[in-house]
């Protein structure tokens, strides 16, 4: 019977071409949206690797001030640490967690080149963000006397750069002048939030004389409120006249950051929802028309021995065959994405999206064909034959 249905659809391919294109287009859009969803969902299911509750970001802008910046920043950090409400505080580059800023560079080890997000921090960041170390330790002031700049990397960076070796205490190169020594390895660090993929990350120790990185991450005690925030801002303004002082909560930044990911996904989802609804309505209409046109054939098949369920099965089978033609064309396009590593995504993401899109398309065409097919089965054979 399957062969018969393929033959029937193939012989009518001209008539069905628009329908095939419509289902193909729906599959491609669905594949795109599902890729986006699978990508974000997989990221969402992975922990971000650090704690952001009760962590504040104190952003200090030097504005017109150009004198003794490094010393003033150091004094500011010491002052912040002195408050009883503060558990820990750490200086950090402008790419603080959930911010829109990004600093990237690449490092080399044994001719293996890996690009990573760079974070410039002091010795306290792991305490502020409660970053658990898988291997080694966080860098300390004592490391600064060494020949190489101390760094901490994350697990995925270790895997990519050192393959099967341990990265601990290995020396890696950024450029001819800059060499790093890995002193510790953390598990994950998804600084852009839950929806960020687990990218390679590298934490480089800030020098005491650094004057460029004016962010201080502050871990406060639970229950610390806006009164402390006001006092902190006031004290900083007095201590650093002419500087810009701004406080933000990482918890709020995380929400904003995640909305930036969710909103486009929702927009795509709504657009594809409309498209799929149109496809479904189109299919439904075409099938209804088809059945009205093929009443004689339905009567004939009943006369030749088809049961009611056989007629339903035939019409459902025809739409599945038609969808299969569309999906074969769609798959030719879709499989290029994992083969050619488009957007540098995991093969798995594309394969899951392809599988899910195929399932959704079959569900949609089945739902659309179900009612007209049932209607076809209910047509009385004697009436159907007479109408022809």
């Amino acid at each position: 019977m399957l062969r018969h249905l393929f033959k029937l659809i193939w012989n009518k391919k001209g008539t069905h071409s628009l329908l095939i294109i419509e289902v193909w287009a729906a599959f491609m859009v669905l594949f795109g949206v599902l890729t986006l969803i699978v990508f974000n969902l997989r990221n969402y299911l992975q922990p971000i690797g650090f704690q952001y509750e009760n962590v504040w970001n104190l952003e200090l802008a030097t504005n017109q001030d150009t004198t003794e910046i490094a010393a003033k920043l150091q004094r500011a950090v010491q002052r912040v640490k002195s408050y009883p409400e503060v558990v820990a505080a750490s200086r950090m580059s402008s790419n603080t967690p959930f911010s829109a800023n990004q600093i990237g560079n690449s490092v080399t080890y044994n001719k293996v080149d890996v690009g990573a997000d760079f974070y410039y921090t002091d010795t306290e960041l792991h305490k502020v963000l409660e970053l658990p170390l898988k291997k080694g330790r966080w860098y300390t002031d004592a490391d600064l006397v060494g020949k190489f700049i101390p760094i901490v990397i994350n697990q995925v960076m270790e895997d990519k750069l050192f393959q099967n070796e341990s990265g601990l205490n290995k020396v890696i190169k950024r450029d001819d002048k800059t060499m790093y020594k890995v002193v510790g390895i953390v598990d994950k660090f998804k600084a852009k939030g839950q929806f960020m993929s687990n990218n390679p990350a590298l934490f480089e120790m800030l020098e005491k004389k650094d004057r460029w990185n004016g962010n201080i991450l502050i871990k406060t005690k639970p229950g610390t409120d806006a009164n402390f925030e006001a006092q902190l801002v006031k004290d900083m303004a007095l201590m650093l006249p002419g500087w810009g002082v701004e406080v933000g909560y990482l918890k709020d930044s995380r929400k904003n950051r995640e909305n930036l990911t969710l909103v486009p996904v929702l927009i795509f989802l709504i657009v594809s929802g409309f498209l799929l609804t149109n496809v479904a309505l189109g299919l439904f209409g075409v099938l209804n028309l088809n059945i009205a046109k093929r009443k004689g054939e339905i009567g004939l098949r009943r006369a030749m021995g088809a049961t009611e369920s056989g007629v339903t099965g035939q019409f459902l089978g025809e739409i599945w065959v038609l969808a299969t033609f569309s999906l074969i064309i769609g798959l030719i396009f879709a499989v290029q994405f994992p083969i050619m590593h488009v957007f540098d995504l995991d093969k798995e993401i594309y394969l899951i999206a392809i599988f899910a899109a195929v399932v959704v398309i079959y569900i949609i065409v089945t739902l659309c064909a179900w009612f007209p097919s049932k209607q076809a089965a209910r047509i009385h054979p004697a009436v159907a034959l007479h109408e022809e």
Binding site: K7, E297, L300, A303, A306
Partner: protein
């Protein structure tokens, strides 16, 4: 001489009739709408013996096709009793009726009812799709049936490429491909010229001479006279 031979064949056939292949008792068919009730068939009693060639005649709207549909299990009577090859069919399920239609009955229609998107051989194979036959069995049986109607050279053609007579021969091949014991023909020559009509009747007579029971609805008196028995209907009533 030919007439004499034909009578002899008829006499010989009559002696071979065994039991009623089709039996209708007090069959009535009423069509009801919200405002009107039409009695299409009234108290029909009919016995068609195995191997008999019966024709049904009557003016348009007298209930010929309704009777054929009821015999063919495509329509249910409002009242009465039907037996096909000795089995009462009133309590049969849809599945059982479909199986009976597939195994016992072959249909030929005035308007051929060929599927234009399928080739001649694929059209002929249709009844076998509803049986557990392999693709090869289907193909072989369809080829054999087309050879019987003299269309083995048109297997790959599509219905639109055939003349009316050829289309009806394809329909006959489709009706006989499953070796049914009964063939029901609803005005099989109605859309054909007289020469082509005689050719089709010749094929049906040949099938009948091989033991197939045939019930044919026709408007053509001359055609009807060439069959074993003529049943006349008028306003849903059997008049002879």
């Amino acid at each position: 001489m030919v007439h004499g031979l034909s009578s002899m064949v008829k006499k010989q056939k009559r002696t071979t009739y065994q039991h009623a292949m089709i039996k209708l008792q007090n069959v009535e068919k009423v069509y009801r709408t919200s405002s009107i009730e039409t009695l299409a068939l009234n108290n029909i009693n009919l016995d068609v013996k195995k191997g008999e060639f019966v024709s049904i005649m009557g003016p348009s709207g007298c209930g010929k096709s309704t009777l054929l549909n009821i015999i063919g299990l495509l329509d249910a009577p409002s009242k009465g009793h039907i037996e096909i090859d000795g089995s009462p069919v009133e309590r049969y399920t849809d599945k059982h009726l479909a199986e009976l239609r597939n195994r016992k009955l072959g249909f030929i229609f005035q308007s051929f009812h060929l599927i234009n998107d399928l080739s001649v051989i694929d059209n002929v194979e249709i009844p076998l799709l509803y049986r557990n036959s392999s693709a090869k069995q289907r193909r072989d049986a369809a080829q054999e049936a087309l050879e019987k109607v003299g269309l083995s050279n048109r297997m790959k053609h599509f219905p639109k490429q055939l003349s009316g007579g050829q289309k009806q021969r394809v329909a006959i091949a489709r009706a006989i491909v499953g070796n049914p014991e009964i063939i029901l023909a609803d005005e099989p020559t109605g859309n054909l010229d007289s020469a082509m009509g005689n050719e089709i009747l010749g094929i049906l007579q040949k099938l009948n001479s091989n033991g197939t029971t045939i019930v044919m609805v026709t408007h053509d008196e001359a055609m009807a006279k060439k069959t074993d028995r003529l049943i006349r209907l008028f306003d849903g009533v059997q008049v002879s």
